[in-house]
């Protein structure tokens, strides 16, 4: 021992050995982020949590890009001529690769929303906070989860209902579309009383009671539960929120008058380029505008079928003009219809100059930024009006018509027509049968009012047009892509192979 203390070298060695044994370095806390265990303690945590659930609606697979593509481009209203063959195939009900990017992101991002909502529902109840706010936040999360399942159930049919926070080991069981819809109905029925009719300005954009009941009505519509649907729609129509159609139809598709009186639920988007989402300074925009913008401006991924354009010319306004909704809905070659057309501008350059005088192609104009700039950036700030009153009016009219209340049906159809200065139905024709009203909605009113807003696919499904080959043949006459449609199969998308492979409880959709 004596040697040890008198020999400086040995002592130095001892010091080093002892200091080396300190195991502090093995305990490293992440200096960047809170752990999930540290979070979910305060009211602010709950608010930030619910904001993050809304944020999931912005991604490309939810409502940031593919939503319109999956619904509209596959419907009979729109076609796609993408040089990207896989993408074009998708609108032709042809899927050589079920993990194809679009199919992957749509499925995945929907479930990201579900996972986030479930984190709220599992963790926020434990937080000590304002009980009303807590209930509201739980209701918002439930609404967002229900919204997601409504879309998942419609697109994929047989999807797993996931209601709790996920763990890596979860291999959820598969459910049927009726089960999924029932879950949506139960959830919405349960929570809409906890949602406010309106929010203070700073919270504009959150889910309201009207949004929940409108969505509930939409689910009932898909199930042909006309009375239940009508009840929900009436509640929306008579809501203290005071919903009303905007005077200017175009206000529903720009960033100038967002969250307006017609809007029932709107996905919020803001401009700003960034190469990531959910990252510092990340993108908050929608990629819809650049996706559908014409060649030279954007990716050129969708065109309205000629029949949609023609439908706009079936009627004129009271003063004999072209339906004003046409120019809002699409870019088209106006000179083909109007010899005096001065080469209408498309993003600052005449249609004829840009695309040729005899070009018959059309492009989406709703949600495009041409009203303020001559280009499209990757991220567009225009909010997505996911549920707006005009749709609810027309759905209400459809429900009332099915319930044999034709006058009410006409009343609500006319509200929509009159906003665009189209004469009332009874002016056009003194009497209407139930079948005529239904056909008018199917082939005219809903097309002109809602083309390109992602509603058509729900309509085709609801009307049973995708269930029988005879109907398919009928659709085929205006959309040849339906020659690839297989009854009993194509109504659902294929579940991504990844999911079927990794989860033994999932079986691929019929026919795939």
């Amino acid at each position: 021992m004596k040697t040890l203390f008198t020999n400086p070298t040995l002592f130095a060695i001892l010091v080093m050995l002892v200091s080396a044994c300190n195991d502090d370095i093995l305990f490293q806390d992440n200096p960047n982020q809170e752990t999930a265990d540290q979070f979910w303690k305060t009211q602010d945590d709950a608010i930030m949590g619910i904001n993050a659930v809304y944020s999931a609606l912005q991604d490309v697979g939810t409502f940031g890009r593919w939503h319109t593509y999956v619904y509209d481009c596959r419907s009979d209203e729109v076609y796609n001529l993408s040089p990207w063959t896989e993408l074009q195939n998708y609108t032709k009900f042809t899927h050589p690769n079920y993990n194809f990017e679009t199919n992957m992101f749509v499925w995945w991002h929907m479930y990201v929303t579900v996972y986030r909502a479930n984190q709220i529902l599992d963790n926020v109840p434990e937080i000590d906070m304002d009980p009303d706010l807590k209930n509201r936040i739980l209701a918002e999360a439930t609404f967002l989860r229900a919204l997601t399942f409504f879309h998942l159930g419609t697109m994929y049919g047989n999807v797993p209902i996931v209601l709790t926070e996920s763990t890596p080991e979860d291999r959820p069981m598969q459910n049927t579309q009726p089960e999924v819809y029932q879950q949506v109905i139960d959830d919405l029925t349960d929570i809409y009383p906890n949602l406010p009719d309106t929010y203070p300005a700073s919270d504009l954009g959150r889910a309201t009671k009207g949004a929940a009941r409108a969505l509930l009505g939409k689910v009932y519509m898909q199930q042909h539960k006309w009375q239940e649907a009508a009840t929900e729609f009436e509640a929306v129509i008579n809501s203290p929120a005071g919903y009303a159609l905007t005077q200017n139809y175009k206000d529903n598709f720009t960033d100038l008058n967002e969250n307006n009186e017609e809007s029932i639920f709107e996905i919020q988007f803001a401009e700003g380029e960034a190469n990531c989402r959910d990252c510092p300074g990340g993108a908050e925009g929608s990629e819809r505008a650049i996706f559908f913008a014409p060649s030279e401006i954007g990716w050129n991924e969708g065109h309205f079928r000629p029949w949609v354009l023609e439908t706009f010319f079936e009627e004129t306004t009271i003063s004999g003009d072209v339906d004003p909704r046409l120019a809002v809905t699409m870019f088209y070659n106006k000179s083909l219809y109007d010899p005096n057309d001065p080469d209408t501008l498309v993003y600052g350059k005449g249609y004829n100059t840009r695309f040729g005088a005899d070009n018959e192609k059309t492009w989406f104009r709703k949600y495009q930024n041409d009203y303020k700039q001559d280009f499209e950036a990757w991220q567009s700030g225009i909010n997505c009006r996911l549920i707006r009153l005009a749709d609810i009016y027309l759905l209400y009219a459809e429900a009332m018509n099915e319930l044999n209340d034709i006058p009410t049906a006409i009343e609500y159809i006319d509200y929509v027509r009159e906003r665009s200065d189209i004469p009332g139905l009874l002016t056009v024709k003194p009497s209407w049968t139930k079948d005529e009203i239904r056909s008018q909605l199917q082939n005219h009113e809903r097309v002109l009012e809602l083309a390109g807003e992602g509603t058509r696919w729900f309509d085709l499904v609801r009307w049973g047009w995708l269930d029988q080959q005879a109907e398919i043949n009928n659709i085929m006459s205006r959309d040849e892509d339906f020659s690839y449609f297989e009854v009993g199969k194509s109504i659902f998308l294929p579940i991504p192979t990844h999911e079927v492979d990794v989860n033994p409880n999932l079986i691929q959709n019929p026919g795939y």
């Binding site: 305990f27 990201v112 954009g205 401006i297 954007g298």
Partner: protein
């Protein structure tokens, strides 16, 4: 040289005169000279013994000797560091004996981590790399030169400038990162791109548990121990080496010209009943015929300059080296440059020895920018009817149009419009002090620092690179960061021999702390041409993060041998890592190995066997090399926002995005092995044989989990999911012969490795990844695809392809479409797979269709030298592996607009074949282009002449000058049609060709000077 020859002649004359007298005694007087075969220097002090006698002598300072021998005597020459040589002089009176340096000298000290061991005392499976040989391959890193050289070591490289090859030791032990640990001058590190190959003195590859166990938690993939050069005792030395050459694509894929393309493209549209693509028909422009390979590929250059001076004596040594390396590859855009400087020195004073290494490098690269696709695939995808340059398009590049529609990207435009650069400054150094406390005990303190500062910057100019992809803003993305790793190690070394017992031991503590810091940002829209962060005008963002990882280890090794015959080594390491949760931080990694040198035994008297050793080892290794440093729990992402309110102010959001596994724990690898080392026939044949078997349990993997979990935005969470067995054999044989001025040697090695999944945890019954499936009882990542069964030649064949009820299985198929095998189906009640056909072709019909893992891999090196000439050639190859070729699919699928290879002759009525289906564009072709199909599988076996070198030593006084010409990747024999048959893939993507940068053929000349 002249002088020597003259002296030799004089000596010879004298001998002739003395001849008679010598014979009278019935004894011969033999004189001669011993020189080193590698540099013709005379060797002083070589011991010469007449075999089976006590008669012997040694050479003088000039390497000369004279000895009287009996007729028919055998003379054995031995010299430290050189191979023993037995010569039968016969009736010669004068001989010149060449001793070749024994790179495998048995007394050579082998650095195996924390201590050195004499080669003959090794008990583990340690590959000692012939570094001089490895260096002859001119690439960015030294590891490229290891390809095919070391049994059990697979090197997968690309030709990309500045790329680091993927290296696998003994196949795959697990699913994670399988890169070995690098220990460079005692510094534990991962990559070695920045290391100058010229600085390397030795490389040892620790393949088994006995040796690697001292690196415990980081050693599961093997350990590559690299020691850099130091000054040697003797006169100061100056070296200057330079080489340079050109690189070119080793293969050009024969693609159609515009007219041929148009014909096939029209056929594809016609067959689909679609109006033809105008650019191939009505709007076909005969003036445009772009060869995209020609447009994007070019001849590259490679240059290397290295300078060093070094020296030393018994009290100290020094070495300074400086190097420059540049390479720009075979496609437009990328470029790589490295400047490096090294200073290594050491002093000895009394009982203290201090050594130091310090390395600095600056690397800069222009990166190959991939964009949304892959520039190599784009060369095939872009249509020959699109020009490379087009002034009417913003940016000036041809991108296609409605008339020439493609989803491909102009690869030239992609590189020109994206200025993507990286720059790294790296400092790596250590200082160690070793104190001899007692003659048998020394203490060593070693501390090291590795520090890298990096800067990445990409400026995307305005302009179009592909059709329908406008670029409204220019953009700039930059990031900078620093990673530093500090290591402190204290070790005690004990060495004692008493009688025939030799005992060595080392114990120590090792502490490693790694610190990461990074910051980055981006900004869009530059109205003026100043692409710096401050002059962008919109959407400025900034981000940054920190990380810290700590590893603490206690280690010990005891080696004992008796008479150098019986050898035993035991290792132990206990490691803790901050990467694991509180309950799972520590892991124990023991290892033991033993050897028996049979040739030292008294009973062993086979003269033709010079050395024979058998050895065996057993041990446990770990792997904590997880991507991400805090994986054991879930975190809240605070960077989520949502615009709310009338002004759409961003409301902050925060939530968990990535799932985690709190029970993450060490995976353990139990590795056992046995081997034989033998030298035969005067050491002219050297054989090393190894068998190994490893079992990895609690395998850590980012196993795919369902997307329904909502886990998104990062790799799948780590889980400990199963158990894998990995076993194999390795054999290396060297044959060398030296006959005065002519010598040659051949080394061949072969390794066979098999892996098998023994168990997967519940919930991970099978791991699917792209076209592969990993499941119990099979090797990892087997191709799992639909089986094609030729082409329907006519309608009858379509109708004849029926299920058991005689219903056609592919009723919508047309003649010329692909027939698939109906191999499986589902029970309509339970939904379970039945294993029976069900009359439907879908993904249930996938089956195992081949492996990305070769049956065996081999290498063969041959050296021949004659006088001053030397020729070296090196073959390597693999056999039995398959490739899934996404690259070939791009141009053969025909449902997408791409160019087509000239060999693609689609099925037509007139040309009925079983090789390719009919040309068909769009959705109608869906059934012919299933992704998960054996249509895209290819044979990956190959034999490659990796390098061929011819060298010449120029005889100049006092200076050693060597010039050489060399060709790399001379030819490859393989049935694979794409650019390169070798693709570095990850565990599950091994064998998948996603358009990797191919290895390139290069022609190099060089000069090495030593003064």
């Amino acid at each position: 040289m002249k002088k020597i020859t003259l002296r030799k002649k004089v000596t010879g004359l004298l001998l002739v005169l003395l001849l008679t007298a010598v014979q009278a005694y019935s004894q011969n007087l033999l004189t001669g000279k011993v020189v080193a075969a590698d540099n013709d220097e005379p060797l002083p002090g070589v011991s010469i013994i007449e075999k089976n006698t006590l008669n012997g002598t040694v050479t003088n300072v000039d390497g000369e000797f004279s000895i009287t021998i009996s007729p028919g005597a055998l003379l054995e020459f031995s010299y430290v560091g050189y191979l023993n040589k037995v010569v039968e002089p016969g009736d010669k009176e004068n001989i010149e004996v060449f001793l070749s340096p024994d790179v495998r000298a048995l007394d050579e000290l082998i650095v195996i981590g924390y201590s050195s061991v004499r080669r003959k005392d090794l008990t583990g499976s340690i590959a000692i790399v012939d570094v001089e040989d490895a260096k002859t391959y001119k690439g960015t890193t030294i590891t490229e030169g290891l390809a095919g050289k070391v049994p059990g070591v697979t090197v997968l490289s690309t030709g990309q400038p500045g790329s680091t090859p993927r290296i696998l030791i003994r196949g795959l032990g697990h699913f994670g990162n399988n890169s070995p640990l690098y220990v460079i001058d005692g510094i534990q590190t991962n990559e070695q791109r920045d290391l100058n190959p010229e600085d390397v003195e030795s490389i040892q590859i620790l393949k088994d548990a006995s040796a690697a166990a001292l690196y415990g938690s980081r050693a599961a993939n093997g350990v590559v121990v690299i020691t850099t050069k130091t000054g040697k005792s003797g006169a100061p030395k100056i070296t200057f080496n330079t080489s340079g050459g050109i690189e070119q694509a080793s293969k050009i894929i024969p693609m159609m010209n515009a007219a041929e393309f148009a014909e096939l493209n029209n056929m594809a549209y016609d067959n689909a009943g679609l109006p033809r693509m105008p650019g191939a028909d009505a709007a076909f422009d005969p003036d445009i015929d772009t060869d995209w390979q020609d447009a994007f590929m070019k001849n590259g250059r490679i240059q290397k300059y290295d300078f060093s001076y070094s020296g030393g004596n018994s009290e100290g040594n020094y070495l300074l080296s400086a190097g420059y390396f540049t390479q720009d590859g075979i496609v437009k855009g990328p470029e790589f440059e490295r400047y490096s400087i090294r200073l290594n020195s050491g002093i000895s004073k009394k009982r203290l020895r201090i050594n130091q290494t310090m390395f600095f490098s600056n690397t800069s690269s222009d990166n190959l920018y991939y964009g949304f696709g892959n520039p190599f695939m784009d060369m095939l995808r872009m249509l020959p009817t699109i020009p490379v340059y087009d002034n009417t398009i913003e940016g000036g590049f041809g991108i296609g149009s409605e008339a020439n529609k493609t989803f491909g990207t102009n690869p030239v435009a992609l590189q020109e419009l994206n200025d993507d650069k990286s720059n790294t400054n790296k400092i790596m150094g250590n200082i160690s002090a070793e104190l001899e406390i007692f003659p048998f005990l020394s203490y060593k303190f070693n501390t090291s620092l590795e520090l890298a500062d990096w800067h990445n910057r990409r400026y995307r100019k305005r302009g179009l690179e592909s059709y329908n992809r406008p670029q409204p803003y220019d953009e700039l993305h930059e990031n900078r960061g620093r990673v530093s790793t500090l290591m402190y190690e204290n070790t005690l070394n004990f060495t004692q021999s008493f009688n025939d017992h030799n005992l060595f031991a080392v114990i120590g503590v090792s502490k490693i702390v790694t610190d990461w810091k990074q910051i980055g940002g981006s900004v869009f829209d530059f109205p003026k041409p100043y692409p710096v962060m401050s002059s962008g005008t919109r959407d400025r963002t900034i981000y940054g993060s920190d990380a810290k990882v700590g590893i603490l280890g206690y280690l010990g090794r005891v080696t004992y041998n008796y008479k150098g015959k019986y050898l035993i080594t035991a290792n132990f390491r206990r490691d803790g890592s901050s990467k694991f949760g509180p309950s799972y931080k520590w892991g124990n990694f023991p290892g033991v190995s033993a050897g028996w040198v049979i040739s030292e035994e008294r009973f062993f008297n086979y003269n033709w066997i010079n050395n024979l050793k058998i050895r065996g080892s057993y041990g446990l290794l770990g792997n904590s090399d997880l991507r991400g440093d805090y994986n054991y729990t879930s975190y809240i992402n605070p960077s989520i926002a949502y615009p709310l309110g009338p002004f759409q102010d961003l409301a902050p959001g925060a939530i968990t995005q990535l799932l985690s596994n709190p029970d993450l724990r060490w995976q353990s690898k139990t590795l056992s092995g046995a081997g034989i080392d033998a030298s035969l026939l005067n050491n002219s044949i050297i054989i090393t044989f190894d068998y190994f078997n490893s079992i990895t349990d609690d395998v850590l993997v980012n196993a795919p989990i369902p997307w329904t979990s909502g886990h998104y935005g990062g790799p799948d969470p780590y889980s400990n999911v199963g158990k894998i067995k990995n076993h194999g054999v390795e054999l290396a044989i060297t044959y060398q012969q030296m006959k005065s001025e002519f010598s040659y040697d051949v080394t061949t090695n072969i390794s066979m490795v098999r892996n098998e999944v023994l168990r997967l945890s519940e919930g991970y019954d099978a791991i699917f990844f792209g076209p592969t499936k990993t499941t119990v009882g099979m090797p990892i990542g087997q191709f799992f695809v639909l089986r094609t069964d030729g082409i329907f030649q006519n309608q009858e064949e379509v109708l004849a392809h029926t299920d058991e009820n005689n219903n056609p299985i592919q009723p919508n198929a047309m003649p010329g479409d692909i027939r698939y095998k109906d191999l499986n189906g589902r029970d309509p009640e339970t939904g379970e797979l039945t294993g029976e056909p069900d009359g439907v072709i879908n993904l249930d019909d996938r089956e195992f269709a081949g492996s990305p893992w070769p049956d065996f891999e081999f290498g063969l090196t041959g050296n021949v030298s004659y006088k001053n000439w030397e020729m070296r050639l090196f073959f390597e190859g693999s056999y039995g592996n398959m490739i899934f070729s996404n690259t070939r699919a791009v141009m053969e699928r025909m449902d997408d607009n791409s160019n087509y290879p000239t060999w693609l002759v689609p099925w037509t009525e007139e040309n009925q074949s079983d090789e390719y289906p009919r040309a068909l564009y769009g959705a109608a072709a869906a059934n012919n282009v299933y992704y998960e199909s054996d249509r895209w599988l290819d044979n990956g076996s190959y034999l490659r002449l990796r390098s061929l070198r011819l060298g010449y030593d120029i005889p100049v006084n006092s200076m050693k000058t060597n010039v050489f010409i060399q060709m790399q990747n001379v030819f490859t024999i393989s049935s694979y049609k794409m650019w390169d048959v070798v693709h570095p893939g990850d565990v599950f993507t091994r064998g998948i060709d996603n358009g990797t940068y191919p290895n390139v053929r290069s022609f190099i000349i060089g000069l090495n000077l030593t003064y």
